[in-house]
C-alpha cells in the first residue's frame, strides 16, 4: 500500500469511505478512461483485475 509497481502501471492507496460499506472489500480505479468501482472483491478477484490490465 502506498507503492507503485516497477512498470509504473498500478499505484495502490488506502482510502476511507467509497459509499459502499455493505459491499466491502471494494476499490476504486482511477485511469485515463475515468473512475470505476469494483465491489464485493476478494484478493483473488483484485489480482485478476490487475493481471487483466497488464494484457
Amino acid at each position: 500500500v502506498g507503492e507503485t509497481t516497477p512498470d509504473g502501471l498500478v499505484t495502490v492507496e488506502e482510502v476511507k469511505c467509497l459509499a459502499g460499506c455493505d459491499k466491502a472489500p471494494l476499490f476504486q480505479v482511477q485511469s485515463g478512461v475515468g473512475i470505476e468501482y469494483h465491489e464485493n472483491q476478494t484478493v483473488e478477484s483484485a489480482l485478476d483485475f490487475i493481471r487483466s490490465l497488464k494484457t
Binding site: 476511507k16 469511505c17 467509497l18 459509499a19 459502499g20 460499506c21 455493505d22 459491499k23 466491502a24 473512475i35
Partner: protein, 418 residues
C-alpha cells in the same frame, strides 16, 4: 417482501423510470401542493407529520422550513447528497433506485418555501449518479414537472446538480453552502442559520436526501398516516445502514424504534464465524462506542432512546464490532479519518486531531504486554480529546473525539495491561 416506502424500487423494479414512477402515484403530491395548497399549508402538513431530519441531527423538518425568513428573497433549497459518513450508504441507494421520489421531495420543499431554484449537492464519488439525476431532471422538464409556470400556475422551479470534490467537511451544511458558492468548503459561524442566511446570503433550507424522499408520501398519504409508523417522538421509517462484523450487511428500512437486536441479529443475521458482538457504533465514525450488552441490544433505535446509552442515532449507520477487534486499532482508524478530513479552520480541531493521531498510532502499534508503559500517552490522548470538545465552529471536531473518549472510558481493558 415488506412494503417499502423509501426503498420502493425493491418492490417496483423499474421505479427509476419516470413513467413507472408516475403510474405508482408519483408527482401527485407535488401537483396537489402547487395547484391547490398554500405554501404554508404544505409546511404545516410536514410539521404535523413529525418528520425529523435524517442526516444526523434529527431536527424537525417542518419547523426548519417554517424558519425561512420571509422578509428576504429569493429563497433556495439545497439537498444534501454529500453522504460521506463512514458506514453510511443509504442516500446512494435512494438516488440510484428511486431518484424521482427524492426529486419530488425537493420540488415540494421548494414550493413550501417558495424557492424557484433548488440544488442537489452530491459528493464527488457520485458523479455517475449526478449524470443520472441530470437525465431525470431533463425528463421532468420535458414532462412539465419542472420549469416555468408549472401546472398553469405562477410557480416556477428549476433543479440543478452540483458535484463536490470529495471533502467530508462539505456534508456540514454551511461548508456545503460555501462550496456551492465556489469557495473553499469551510464551515461558517452559526447563528445565523441557513434559513436566515444561507446560499448567497439568502434564506435556504438544507435537507438530507432521505428526509426529502419521505415528503411525497407525507403529502399523498397524509401526516396522520405517517404518524402511525415509528414512535411518537420519532415517527416514520428509517434506513439503517448495517455494516461491519455482521453476516448480512446492507440497507434496512425499518420503523424508528426497532431494537438493535432486531436489526443486527434478526435482519442482519448476527456476527459471523461464531464471534461475539463487542461494541456498536450507531452513527458511523462519528459515534460513541456502545458496549453491546443485553440492555444495549434491547434498546429501540430512535432519537430519544440511543442518547440514553451515551451515544447518538445520527444518520443510523450501524457499525457492528466483534470481539476480535481491538478498540485501540478502531480509534486509530477513526482519528486518522478525521485528521485527514479536518478542514483546518478551527485550531482545536486542526491541531487536536493531528496530535490525537500521533498518539493513537503509538497506542495502536504497541504490544499488549507493553501497554503499561503507554499510560502517559493514554492520559495525554484523554486530555487532548477533552480540549477539542465544544470549541469548534462545526461538529467535526466533536465527532473526532466521540469514539476516543467513549472507547477509553467503556473499553478500559483494551488500553491497560491486565
Amino acid at each position: 417482501m415488506p412494503d417499502y416506502l423509501l426503498l420502493r424500487h425493491r418492490n417496483i423494479p423499474e421505479l427509476r423510470k419516470l413513467s413507472v414512477y408516475r403510474q405508482n402515484g408519483g408527482f401527485s403530491g407535488f401537483q396537489t401542493a402547487v395547484t391547490s395548497m398554500q405554501p404554508d399549508a404544505v409546511t404545516e402538513v410536514v410539521k404535523t407529520s413529525g418528520l425529523r431530519g435524517r442526516g444526523g441531527a434529527g431536527f424537525p423538518t417542518g419547523q426548519k422550513w417554517s424558519f425561512t425568513d420571509k422578509r428576504n428573497w429569493p429563497h433556495y433549497v439545497v439537498a444534501n447528497a454529500d453522504e460521506s459518513e463512514p458506514g453510511t450508504f443509504k442516500d446512494r441507494e435512494i438516488l440510484e433506485g428511486n431518484p424521482f421520489q427524492f426529486l419530488e421531495g425537493v420540488a415540494i420543499a421548494a414550493y413550501a418555501v417558495q424557492a424557484q431554484a433548488a440544488y442537489v449537492y452530491l459528493r464527488g464519488e457520485f458523479w455517475q449518479i449526478a449524470k443520472q439525476l441530470d437525465r431525470c431532471i431533463a425528463e421532468m422538464e420535458e414532462a412539465g414537472l419542472l420549469g416555468e409556470h408549472l401546472f398553469a400556475t405562477q410557480y416556477s422551479l428549476h433543479i440543478y446538480t452540483h458535484l463536490g470534490a470529495g471533502a467530508y467537511i462539505c456534508g456540514e451544511e454551511t461548508a456545503m453552502l460555501e462550496s456551492l458558492e465556489g469557495k473553499l468548503g469551510q464551515p461558517r459561524l452559526r447563528p445565523p442559520f441557513p434559513p436566515a442566511f444561507g446560499l448567497f446570503g439568502k434564506p435556504t433550507v438544507v435537507n438530507n436526501v432521505e428526509t426529502l424522499t419521505n415528503v411525497p408520501l407525507i403529502l399523498s398519504r397524509g401526516a396522520a398516516w405517517f404518524r402511525t409508523l415509528g414512535t411518537e417522538k420519532s415517527p416514520g421509517v428509517k434506513i439503517f445502514c448495517l455494516s461491519g462484523c455482521v453476516n448480512r450487511p446492507g440497507n434496512y428500512e425499518l420503523p424508528l424504534g426497532t431494537t438493535f437486536r432486531e436489526l443486527i441479529v434478526g435482519q442482519g443475521g448476527g456476527v459471523p464465524f461464531g464471534h461475539k458482538i463487542k461494541a456498536i457504533m450507531p452513527a458511523g465514525a462519528s459515534s460513541s462506542l456502545i458496549v453491546a450488552d443485553k440492555e444495549a441490544l434491547d434498546t429501540p433505535m430512535d432519537y430519544e432512546s440511543v442518547p440514553k446509552l451515551g451515544a447518538q442515532l445520527g444518520s443510523a449507520s450501524i457499525i457492528v464490532i466483534d470481539d476480535t477487534v481491538d478498540i485501540r486499532w478502531l480509534i486509530n482508524k477513526t482519528v486518522g479519518f478525521f485528521t485527514h478530513e479536518s478542514c483546518g479552520k478551527c485550531t482545536p480541531c486542526r491541531e487536536g486531531t493531528y496530535w490525537m493521531h500521533h498518539l493513537t498510532q503509538r497506542i495502536a502499534a504497541a504490544d499488549k504486554e507493553h501497554l503499561s508503559s503507554l499510560q502517559p500517552d493514554v492520559q495525554l490522548l484523554q486530555a487532548v480529546a477533552s480540549q477539542i470538545k465544544n470549541k469548534c465552529l462545526c461538529a467535526l471536531g466533536d465527532f473526532s473525539i466521540e469514539a476516543v473518549l467513549s472507547g477509553l472510558e467503556r473499553f478500559k481493558d483494551d488500553f491497560a495491561h491486565p
